[in-house]
């Protein structure tokens, strides 16, 4: 693990042309259709998108945590290991130690019949050859680290005896148990109420800085993304339509979908005005339109958009900014 962190310019996560389809007898769902990105150690990437856009599937594909009917293609490298070609056993070694995950529903993420402490020590002992007492001590340290009051007692509690926020803290402790270099967070604050949400976000950011982890954070909440991310990737119909530094994306979004998404958020200046919404609804993932998937809902759609999927274009003059739109910096002018 340590040698991976020292090599600063080597990305910790490298995803090339990731495609995930769910094949069943009557339909094929194209959940992810060609996702490319890299993640540097210690970087926070936020994947932003609406329900069903393939955010969670992308995240799970990074640790191959998908049901059997999922077919994954492309190339996923985490910490120098090719995730998609690892054996089950090697993959299990990787999960939890190198790459860990926080789930959306803390209420059902712990086994109800074991204490939370037991589940954390179990995970530590699964990956590292330590004694029971040592694992216990580590779990206690973790609970202190995620700011759970009276950690000794909480370790002995069952998950149903903890509050929602407390459970999510315990979940974070479980994910951090073996000091992963990549943390995946699948909408970890969605199931919590607003006051707890901000606490968890602040905690995550603090821990991320302290431990120097890379974090991929999936959310549909623009506010949350701005709060935590170094870079934001906007996902639509299984593709990243735009990826770039948080400030740039928020201040000058290039893709019409991102523009629509940002203008449909509520803030204090929108009082008394009508809330903007993007017309139409997301495409059917079993039958994606030919060409740009956002085309049917786009105000600026051009015949060329319907011909083929816009390629990933590097925005001129801005580092590390990709957009998949013919209008942005492309051959076409805004009509």
């Amino acid at each position: 693990m340590s040698e991976l962190r020292t090599s600063a310019n080597q990305p910790i996560v490298d995803v090339r042309n990731l495609e995930v389809t769910f094949v069943s007898r009557d339909s094929t769902v194209n959940a992810v259709n060609g996702v490319n990105f890299t993640l540097q150690p210690g970087e926070v990437l936020c994947i932003l998108g609406e329900s069903g856009s393939g955010k969670s599937v992308t995240l799970r594909a990074l640790m191959r945590l998908l049901p059997r009917q999922a077919q994954i293609s492309g190339c996923v490298t985490v910490g120098g290991k090719d995730v998609l070609s690892l054996t089950e056993r090697k993959l299990a070694d990787l999960r939890g130690s190198e790459i860990a995950m926080i789930f959306q529903e803390p209420a059902v993420s712990f086994d109800p019949i074991y204490t939370v402490g037991r589940q954390i020590t179990e995970s530590i002992r699964r990956h590292e050859n330590v004694s029971g007492a040592e694992a216990q001590q580590r779990a206690l340290d973790l609970f202190e680290r995620v700011q759970i009051p009276s950690p000794e007692r909480r370790l002995r509690a069952f998950s149903h005896e903890l509050s929602g926020g407390m459970r999510q803290r315990a979940m974070i402790a479980l994910a951090l148990a073996c000091q992963p270099s990549v943390l995946l967070a699948d909408e970890p604050t969605t199931a919590l109420d607003a006051t707890v949400q901000i606490q968890i976000l602040l905690l995550l950011r603090e821990l991320q800085r302290e431990l120097g982890m890379a974090v991929i954070f999936v959310t549909h909440d623009v506010g949350v993304a701005v709060e935590i991310a170094d870079r934001i990737a906007v996902m639509y119909a299984g593709r990243f339509v735009e990826i770039g530094p948080t400030k740039k994306i928020i201040n000058s979004p290039q893709h019409p979908y991102t523009k629509g998404l940002l203008s449909s958020t509520v803030n204090s200046s929108s009082r008394g005005k009508r809330l903007k919404a993007i017309p139409g609804s997301p495409p059917d993932m079993t039958q994606l339109p030919i060409g740009c998937a956002f085309g049917p809902r786009c105000d600026h759609v051009h015949p060329a958009c319907r011909a083929q999927v816009p390629a990933e274009t590097q925005l001129a003059g801005v580092d590390d900014y990709m957009v998949r739109c013919l209008l942005a910096d492309g051959p076409l002018e805004l009509t």
């Binding site: 993420s109 074991y114 069952f158």
Partner: protein, 306 residues
Amino acid sequence: MSTSPLDPRQQATVDVVQVAVQSRGYWATVLGRILYDKVTMICGLILLLIILSTVFADWITFTDPYKANMLKRLKPIGTPGYPLGGDEMGRDMLTRLLYGGRLSLFMGIAPVVLALGIGGLLGLTAGFLGGRINMLIMRIMDVFYAFPSVLLAVAISGALGAGIFNAIVSLTLVFIPPITRVTESVTTQIRNLDYIEAARASGAGTFAIIRVHVLSNVLGPVFIYATSLISVCIILASGLSFLGLGTEPPEPEWGLMLNTLRQSIYVNPEVATLPGLMIFITSLTFNLLSDGLRSAMDIRYVRGTS
């Protein structure tokens, strides 16, 4: 919190103390709950009494359960030397009821235990693996399901011939499908829960997940279901003996005794109904016990709160 509003920090400590009182080990919590449940405790005690008195029948009775006495035929309850009367051959009813309980209980419990082993394994496999294997196992079970359980037990016993062993085999076959089905549905339900995925995400292998997270969560409900089947099994076993397909005379067994005393129901109804009463009490207590266990083992369910 009817008193003055507490500041958040204080409230947190109050919360902590309450939680700390509740948190004991899983089995300690379950035991504590059973001790509070009067009905379950009484049923448990009655059952324990029945089981112990049948197991130690040699020591608490002094007469031979096979020794007939023509003069004492169908004596009423309370005859000196015959505290519960005599049966149609003049044998002591009390002795025979106690000895008979051994067989009845054995034939009630053994098939369920066997079926729990086989059906549980099948259900776990079907539920966890899913897909074609699930299809195969569950459709085979459906074939057995198509017959009413009594009919199936009678048919299999009839084909195999009378005898205790054959009766146990047939009853086991009768109970495998329902146990498989319950195990399968519980397993499928648990397999899709987030904590299985969370366990996988923290590096647990398939076998470890089945052993630690699936099995221990499935075992509770399935075990309780099996306990409730024991009462059915006792009745079915007695039914088989009643029909002459289980134990054979002169072996004492509640179902068989009920059959042989059937003709005497007008002569001495109290004595003739005694074996039936025993079957009734035993299966009722088993049922109530399993019900009590069910509510005690579900630790998320807190009694008395809405």
